[in-house]
């Protein structure tokens, strides 16, 4: 699971959960893959994300070094910044671990890089 995906996941479909966002991450195995850097691609993705959630997620798994907590206005011209965002969004992979619902504490395992967000019928709203 890449952090770009974590940014889009919620457990709000759980019964009694209001926002279920962001999910906490506990990583027991992290991999860093090299991915071709494409500054345009990264610039286009950033406005679609919740940056604060991304920063906190990166920080919680020890990968926030050098990553600014807030985004500058001209971020798309700042190559160094885009490279850091690229790394955190696309290169860092949580291979094993789990996600936790911030409200209910329900855990979702991540196995072979794939989060398991399946719920039983009794758990859904």
């Amino acid at each position: 699971m890449k952090l770009i995906t974590h940014n889009m996941l919620t457990s709000k479909c759980l019964k009694g959960v209001l926002t279920g966002y962001p999910l906490a991450i506990k990583a027991t195995n992290i991999k860093v893959n090299e991915v071709d850097f494409n500054p345009d691609f990264i610039s286009r993705i950033i406005p679609k994300l919740d940056w604060e959630v991304l920063w906190k997620a990166a920080d919680s798994i020890g990968h926030s070094e050098g990553l600014p907590q807030t985004i500058e206005r001209n971020y798309d011209e700042d190559k160094e910044f885009l490279k850091k965002a690229h790394r955190v969004l696309l290169e860092v992979e949580v291979e094993e671990g789990y996600l936790t619902c911030p409200e209910s504490g329900r855990q979702f395992p991540i196995t072979k890089g794939i989060p398991n967000m399946l719920l039983t019928e009794a758990e859904v709203q």
């Binding site: 995906t5 889009m8 996941l9 457990s11 072979k112 890089g113 794939i114 398991n116 399946l118 719920l119």
Partner: protein, 206 residues
């Protein structure tokens, strides 16, 4: 659009995961036919629901190197296969083992693609998470599809497009009407007769 390389897949795995078939290729052909429209959209995020082997979303990713692709499947082995198909073809993609789109935040996806389990079966046959989930569609072959239709307004970005494969038994006109009530226009992109099945791909957009 190019067909993704698949020879990395162990044929035995198709006992557990839907093997690409005419419907998969019709969906790819539909996307190819609609390429000018899709290119003009410059999609940032694309999502394939029920990606199976990953052939469709990977073909999409190959044609759109500036789009980040996501996929879900209820079958974990399908999730694994999708991930490996994407990696083998150098496509950036992330996979989540999920029921349809239940755990995504609202309105992020510019393109959503679904080749559902569309075979008419008993209700009791659908709802599993093994190979039967790739075809068992319950009443009218629409039980899984209809659940996704309800989620489309919450999942598509404001100018997003949704591509859905159906067969005639699914009563496509009813689907068009359901979506029209939600404010979506529709278009038939492609149709094809495959043995005794009339397959088609519809596009929905605002």
């Amino acid at each position: 659009m190019d067909t993704p390389y698949q020879s990395h897949i162990n044929k035995n795995d198709f006992d557990y995961v839907y093997e690409p078939a005419e419907d998969s290729f019709l969906l790819i052909d539909a996307l190819e036919k609609d390429l000018p429209y899709l290119k003009a959209k410059e999609p940032i995020f694309c999502l394939e629901v029920g990606s199976g082997s990953g052939i469709v979303v990977t073909a999409f990713g190959m044609a759109f190197p500036k789009t980040f692709c996501f996929s879900t499947d209820i079958n974990f082995r399908a999730c694994e296969m999708t991930l490996s198909t994407a990696i083998q073809n150098n496509v950036l993609l992330d996979v989540v083992n999920m029921n349809l789109v239940s755990c995504f935040v609202n309105n992020k996806f510019d393109v959503v693609i679904f080749n559902p389990p569309y075979v008419v079966t008993d209700t009791t046959e659908c709802g599993g998470c093994g190979i039967e989930a790739s075809w068992a569609g319950g009443v009218k072959g629409r039980e899984v599809t209809d659940k996704l239709l309800d989620a489309i307004p919450k999942i598509l970005s404001p100018n997003g497009a949704f591509y859905l494969l159906l067969i005639k038994d699914n009563i496509p006109l009813e689907v068009v009407q359901l979506m029209s009530k939600k404010g979506y226009k529709s278009e038939t992109i492609i149709t094809r007769q495959v043995r005794n099945e009339q397959q088609l791909v519809l596009k929905f957009y605002k």
